[in-house]
């Protein structure tokens, strides 16, 4: 009886120690943070499009441009998402002016998901939904 009581106390102490020492989440590599960075990023127009204009534009503007024009935005987003979340581990859907595009694969299940709507310089809003496994 004493032995059982002693073991129960020790087991409770182990449980309390385990719960109070759970590893903390560090870093900020979640989809929400990713989308917030995309909203503030600025590139030269000629970096990701065929337009020979070195003006600085917001990333949201070139993403909006890419829904109806062939350019390197899709390649950029794929490189960025591959490096951020790993290949085949994300799906980004973006829509502007009623036209939508996707980058990545639909895994059917996402552990984290974030969406946002961002203003575009020429008018309208760009909507982005990013899910990651």
């Amino acid at each position: 009886m004493d032995c059982i009581l002693f073991l129960m106390i020790i087991m409770m102490a182990i449980s309390v120690t385990a719960v109070t020492n759970l590893p903390q989440d560090v870093g900020d590599d979640d989809p929400e943070r990713f989308l917030s960075l995309m909203a503030r990023a600025e590139v030269r127009l000629s970096d990701l499009t065929d337009i020979e204009d070195d003006s600085l534009v917001f990333m949201t503007d070139v993403i909006a441009y890419s829904v109806s024009h062939e350019c390197s935005v899709n390649d950029y987003l794929k490189d960025m998402l591959d490096a951020s979340f790993g290949e085949h581990r994300y799906l980004l859907e973006y829509e502007y002016g009623g036209i939508s595009k996707i980058v990545g694969e639909d895994a059917g299940y996402f552990r984290y998901q974030s969406s946002t709507e961002l203003p575009v310089s020429i008018g309208g809003k760009l909507s982005l939904v990013l899910g990651t496994i």
Binding site: I14, L37, E42, D79, M80, A83, S84
Partner: protein, 131 residues
């Protein structure tokens, strides 16, 4: 515990009881020590935005922040920062100070980096701290 008719344990039973208690308490203390060592997170207050970079003619930036101060503050063996700017920069750039080895803590951060030509580029930082 086995006791005789007067309620007293024999020598062997008493020794076995003491040994059992000692072993269980030792295991608990070892567990508690391991748990507290692994729970220590040296990167919990690492702020990537506080890093300063010098903009160069290429996209590859030069880290100006002295990482030694951080590893001394946190009593670390070493610190390694791997930076990637996908599409705009080939591969990665590694900034390292101190030694590798020991217990390793990792964290990943997204940040915006001011780059050549006025660009502000999303950047991925992999930070490894060696304790």
């Amino acid at each position: 515990m086995l006791s005789d008719s007067r309620g007293e344990m024999g020598f062997m039973e008493a020794m076995v009881s003491i040994l059992t208690v000692t072993i269980v308490i030792s295991m608990y203390l070892a567990f508690a020590a391991t748990a507290s060592a692994t729970a220590y997170e040296p990167l919990s207050d690492f702020d990537p935005e506080s890093l300063e970079f010098e903009i160069t003619d290429s996209v590859q930036p030069i880290l100006m922040t002295d990482l030694d101060t951080y590893i001394i503050d946190k009593d670390l063996r070493g610190l390694r920062i791997t930076m990637a700017i996908p599409y705009f920069m080939e591969g990665t750039v590694v900034y390292q100070t101190g030694d590798e080895g020991g217990l390793e803590h990792q964290a990943r951060y997204f940040m915006l980096l001011s780059a050549v030509g006025g660009r502000t580029l999303p950047t991925i930082l992999e930070v490894e701290a060696f304790v």
